[in-house]
């Protein structure tokens, strides 16, 4: 389960960073990119708290 959540978080980050590169290569338009970035942001902020701080607490 934890692995699935981490993969979801990483997909959220990828969805945040990749769309502007697709704008740069002229494959999507800027408004689509902004929407995808927002979706990626929401996914990240929902999924990351489920594992990120727990990992930090263990490691520090």
């Amino acid at each position: 389960m934890k692995r699935l959540i981490i993969i979801t978080s990483i997909l959220g980050l990828i969805t945040t960073i990749v769309p502007p590169f697709l704008v740069f290569t002229n494959q999507i338009d800027p408004s689509t990119s902004k929407t995808l970035m927002l979706i990626g942001t929401v996914v990240w902020f929902i999924s990351a708290p489920l594992w990120l701080n727990k990992k930090e607490q263990e490691s520090v």
């Binding site: 980050l13 945040t16 769309p19 740069f24 002229n26 927002l38 990240w44 990351a48 701080n53 520090v60």
Partner: protein, 480 residues
């Protein structure tokens, strides 16, 4: 820049080793510090500093090379100054300073630090306000603004200031955790936003980048009313923008947990992500704004990020500003509380929050952030020089280390006079020799070193040692 993330907050919250060296079992490898510094130096300030280089007319070649050299010098300073001393003493800056300068001096230092923290937090509240104001069509401040330009601006700043203060009073731990989560995402948004606007600047392939960078983004021509930045300005700024942390030794509090002094090199992660990539990215965003607004003097990171990355960009500005402002405000409260530990933390934080929010209403705090950051490092630098000399050279010169501790004095006059003389010298250089604030740190450090040795010779008296000559506070725990 700065100081918003996990380990810092966590270490500040831990009181176990505030007044004793870190035991060997608690030491961390250099890998732990890479993530900490990467998060810490991608903060709200990056949305302001990168654009200010554009406003000050930095040229592309000066920016790329100046940041490279300045950042390398900063990393070396962290490793060879802070890292080495932190690994040798295993103490926080505050406790080390108290042993050298005395408890009364540390109190003064804390108060000065608190004031600087308040202004930094204020600037970050203002940065957040520029994003929060977008849906309200708020009139944004301009580069030359000193006073608040509208009632709407004041109300927005007060709303954010109130939220920041209340959270700092009651929920600091949650903000620390939230900052942890936000850090990797913020770095992504910085990079993504800049890449997304490249076609609008005329960059459609990698080959287009450098010509556009030279002729459109970092043109070498300052905006109206702004001073000209050269290679040297950029190099020294990149080196000294965190002077309080490395040469000023504030990061002893973090690096004392490192197994080896070489963990200081881990700061490269933060420096090159935050002070290289993020500054370049935010500079690109600002230059697009200038291009499309016909060199408007409006300076508002919120709308600029919103234009480039939509809601995610605006949210990034709010979060970056807020997660920097919040722990800074909390730290300022703790510093003030050191005057009288019986004061309630929440009352002190409320007072500090009000002061910070009032300061945040003045846009000059944001527009002059380059100068403020340089001043912040400069003011705290002499105490780092004092610690450096005290740890390495006092005994070699026949003087007493940790003089306040050994003599029982609450204020070591040698440190106080060193601080005053160094800052006076820097002020004189600035006023009478027109040396800009960015360059004062280097000559100031040498003056501090010499002054501390001379004043120690003058003020130190023969003493009966209160501690054993060999103890944990003055000798290394580990051999490196």
């Amino acid at each position: 820049m700065n100081k918003s993330t996990s380990l810092v907050a966590k270490l500040n919250a831990i009181n176990e080793y505030e007044r004793q060296p870190i035991p060997e079992s608690k030491l961390k490898s250099w890998k732990k510090f890479i993530g900490t510094y990467a998060g810490e130096h991608t903060a709200g300030t990056e949305f302001v500093l990168g654009p200010l280089f554009v406003a000050h007319g930095a040229s592309a070649i000066d920016l790329v090379t100046g940041l490279l050299i300045g950042n390398v010098l900063a990393v070396l300073s962290w490793a060879f100054f802070t890292g080495k001393i932190a690994a040798k003493t295993r103490l926080t800056l505050y406790y080390q300073l108290e042993q050298i300068a005395g408890s009364k001096f540390t109190l003064i230092y804390n108060l000065v630090n608190a004031g600087l923290f308040c202004f930094l937090a204020g600037a970050m509240i203002a940065v957040s306000a520029t994003a929060v104001g977008i849906p309200f069509n708020l009139e944004m401040p301009t580069l030359t603004d000193i006073l608040p330009n509208s009632l709407g601006w004041i109300l927005t700043v007060f709303a954010i200031g109130a939220i920041t203060t209340v959270v700092a009073m009651f929920g600091f731990e949650q903000v620390s955790k939230f900052a942890n989560i936000a850090a990797p995402w913020m770095i992504m948004v910085f990079i993504a936003a800049a890449v997304g606007v490249l076609p609008r600047l005329g960059i459609n392939s990698l080959a287009d980048f450098w010509p556009v960078a030279k002729n459109t983004i970092w043109t070498g021509v300052p905006l109206e009313g702004q001073s000209q930045f050269t290679f040297w300005h950029i190099t020294f700024f990149a080196w000294f923008c965190n002077m309080a942390m490395h040469i000023g030794m504030a990061d002893m509090s973090i690096l004392r947990y490192a197994k080896k002094w070489t963990a200081g090199f881990s700061t490269a992660s933060g420096v090159f992500l935050g002070h290289y990539i993020a500054w370049i990215a935010s500079g690109i965003l600002y230059s697009l704004f200038l291009l499309e607004s016909n060199n408007s003097l409006t300076f508002a990171p919120g709308p600029i990020a919103y234009e480039a990355a939509g809601i995610a960009g605006a949210v990034c500005v709010v979060i970056a500003g807020w997660t920097t402002a919040n722990p800074t405000l909390y730290r300022a409260g703790l510093a003030i509380q050191s005057i009288n530990p019986n004061w309630k933390t929440w009352k002190v934080t409320l007072f500090v929050g009000l002061f910070t929010t009032i300061a945040a209403c003045f846009p000059a705090l944001v527009m002059r952030l380059l100068e403020f950051v340089a001043l912040y490092g400069l003011i705290l630098m002499p105490l780092g020089a004092v610690i450096f000399i005290d740890v390495y050279f006092m005994e070699r010169w026949g003087l007493v280390r940790n003089y306040a501790l050994e003599s029982g004095k609450k204020l070591n006059p040698a440190v106080a006079f060193t601080w005053i003389l160094t800052l006076g010298f820097c002020l004189a250089l600035n006023l009478f020799a027109d040396v800009e604030i960015f360059f004062l740190g280097l000559p100031g450090w040498f003056v501090a070193v010499i002054a501390y040795l001379i004043f120690s010779k003058l003020f130190q008296k023969p003493i009966v040692f209160k501690t054993q000559k060999v103890n944990l506070t003055s000798e290394p725990i580990l051999n490196h």
